[in-house]
Symmetry: C2
Subunit: 392 residues, 2 copies
């Protein structure tokens, strides 16, 4: 186990109708001028928008809005929000929506206190030392961003997608009402569950030895997500199924299960290139690459990968042989309607396309800890995913 | 799943030599006058005492001491600490030791800002609304008190042991260096592991339905604790085994696995009476009663207990039948040298003794959520534990 610091100060308010706690939460944070950040119609349909407006009025909070934040939020939304904050001396940012809205809000909160363009943060050219406080009302169980310091921002103009990780970005509070996720469609429900499982797997596959406590807990979390997702997809949808998945998605990337080891995270970086090229929903870009990454890692670092795949197989899939475990993961994702091969996004994908994705992946240096993914290795993984089926 | 608020702001600094972070932590908390609370010799033997003295000097912190805090800390230590704090206007309390030292420190921190006698808090006669900040250096993996708001204090004069639970009691930081636990003897190593498992089971046995995410994670945590404890008892002691148990003990009572359900906790309250009468180490009082409580609960609330015991059996003990699962738990504890029958503490235990323990248990009202443990039920559970072996 490795040394670590774990500090998760976000107050989590979880459950039905917890939006009613917003009054108290805004008071606790002494909010006077607030920027509400959201996407499009969904928070107007589920009552969040009206509740925020009324709560702001009741508490004499001056409200500004940054709306239209898109999936894979763009730096243009961040810049627009930063400009609003600076113009009106806004002191609090309230994110209402899914992971994209929350990440955009964190980026605005970091950028608001800087003179430089906020994109500089994501290029690692500027280090933020302070941030405006952010509160969160989350409507989608997926990213875990509601209690962590991560934000992932795209720059479509530059063809880039980048991540930043700051302790100061951790939200002050997160209202998590799983009821909001009951109306999420099949595509995004599956995406959320994949996201949660992949967050766990990225941390689980680590070269750090002797992390059984969190490893075993991770297997339990994955089993619960699979069980409840299968139930929902079979038509047995319920508040409790959604609540289990919601709490799992929060814990999965709250870092309590991952701080004790050096998680790999190469699949995430590789997936950014796919999303950047094809606009693929984040989770579906992950499934297109995971088993390809794992195949290459199994070959290069069998001492790490074999025992990890064995435990995963035993506890989750009832198989043990490494390739059988990978096939079982791919079968699970395919059964949920996700593709596990890159070829599925682009029948005519070319060597040039692969070269572009390799460049995108390693633009900020190599990535990965189980194996180091440099340009050659990234190419090997993308090419592995071009096979029609998993090679054995 | 039930609605909940989860707020765990304690900064955890985990790993080898993390005492070196104390400088930074005291600065972050603007400490100027500090009360160091500890037990007897152990922190002088393992270097913590000297490190604290030097760190205080380096940072111009005036240091006071409250030493000699005993297991099952007594209200007299709390009163003494409160008097010192009030006399010298102390602004920070540093606990260095095991759960007893930490609980005593939390009690001092609550009492320091009250005019009333601190025991009033534990009798629920006074509600504390503020507390001095507490920092923790923990030397034993067991209670989980390092990141929660609980404190348990005894009053030997009155023959009472009581618990208080305050959000404001959560420590500002917790230094957890599992190295300190390498010198803990077999008796207390086992006690710590039992404590951790019992904390999980108290939360796991709950009438709240559909909490699979945390239930499955709990099973993983218990498996890791059993595995590493068995290793240590077999002579395969190591930093990593201790680190896994340490992190498990923190997570077990950090509430992240238990906030989603209404945990039972009757076994704990029942055990206070045993400790109060026989001076039994907390964990060993728990094992003396757990299966007796579970037998009675299985009889009275089979709809709750049967599926819970089945899952526990499947995931941890490889058996399924409820009584077989309870026998497997008792066998595990007995294999570690713990007694699972009250009779073992007192061959000549009388009906009067049982009546006294019943009174102690229900003095603050009935307890328990899976079944309500009133005086009659408490008596039934104590009597069940007087049998030589588990009844089936």
């Amino acid at each position: 186990m490795q040394n670590f610091v774990y500090h998760s100060p976000t107050k989590i308010i979880f459950g039905k109708d917890q939006i009613q706690q917003l009054d108290r939460l805004l008071k606790e944070n002494n909010v006077s001028k607030m920027l509400l950040v959201y996407g499009r119609q969904s928070i107007k349909n589920n009552g969040i928008y009206d509740a925020v407006i009324e709560t702001a009025k009741r508490n004499d909070i001056v409200l500004y809005e940054e709306s239209g934040v898109a999936p894979n939020p763009d730096i243009t939304s961040v810049r627009s929000g930063v400009a609003t904050v600076k113009k009106h001396n806004i002191d609090f940012i309230l994110a209402a929506g899914g992971g994209s809205v929350i990440d955009c809000s964190k980026a605005i909160a970091l950028g608001a206190l800087l003179d430089e363009d906020p994109w500089e943060i994501y290029l690692n050219k500027v280090t933020a030392t302070d941030a405006l406080p952010v509160g969160v009302i989350i409507t989608l169980a997926a990213t875990g961003t509601e209690t962590n310091g991560n934000s992932i921002i795209s720059n479509r103009e530059a063809g880039q997608k980048r991540a930043a990780k700051y302790q100061i970005s951790k939200p002050k509070f997160a209202i998590i009402d799983p009821s909001y996720t009951l109306t999420v469609n099949r595509h995004h429900t599956v995406a959320g569950s994949i996201d949660t499982i992949m967050h766990v797997l990225e941390q689980y596959f680590a070269a750090t030895k002797h992390t059984e406590t969190t490893d075993y807990m991770m297997m339990g979390l994955i089993n619960a997500v699979i069980e409840h997702t299968n139930d929902i997809l079979k038509g047995n949808d319920s508040y409790d199924a959604r609540a289990n998945i919601s709490w799992a998605s929060t814990i999965a990337l709250n870092w309590i299960l991952g701080v004790d080891k050096q998680g790999d995270w190469a699949t995430h970086r590789l997936s950014y290139a796919v999303t950047n090229m094809y606009g693929t929903t984040h989770a579906y870009a992950l499934t297109a690459l995971f088993s390809s990454w794992a195949k290459v890692a199994l070959n290069d670092a069998p001492d790490v990968m074999k025992p990890k795949l064995k435990l995963l197989g035993q506890k989750v899939f009832d198989v043990e042989e490494p390739n059988a475990v990978l096939q079982a993961i791919d079968n699970l994702f395919e059964s949920w309607g996700a593709n596990t091969r890159l070829k599925a996004f682009d029948e005519t994908i070319s060597e040039d396309d692969v070269a572009k994705m390799v460049d995108h992946t390693v633009a900020l240096g190599s990535v990965g800890h189980v194996i180091e993914v440099n340009a050659d290795k990234a190419k090997e993984i993308f090419l592995e995913s071009l096979n029609e089926t998993m090679t054995t």
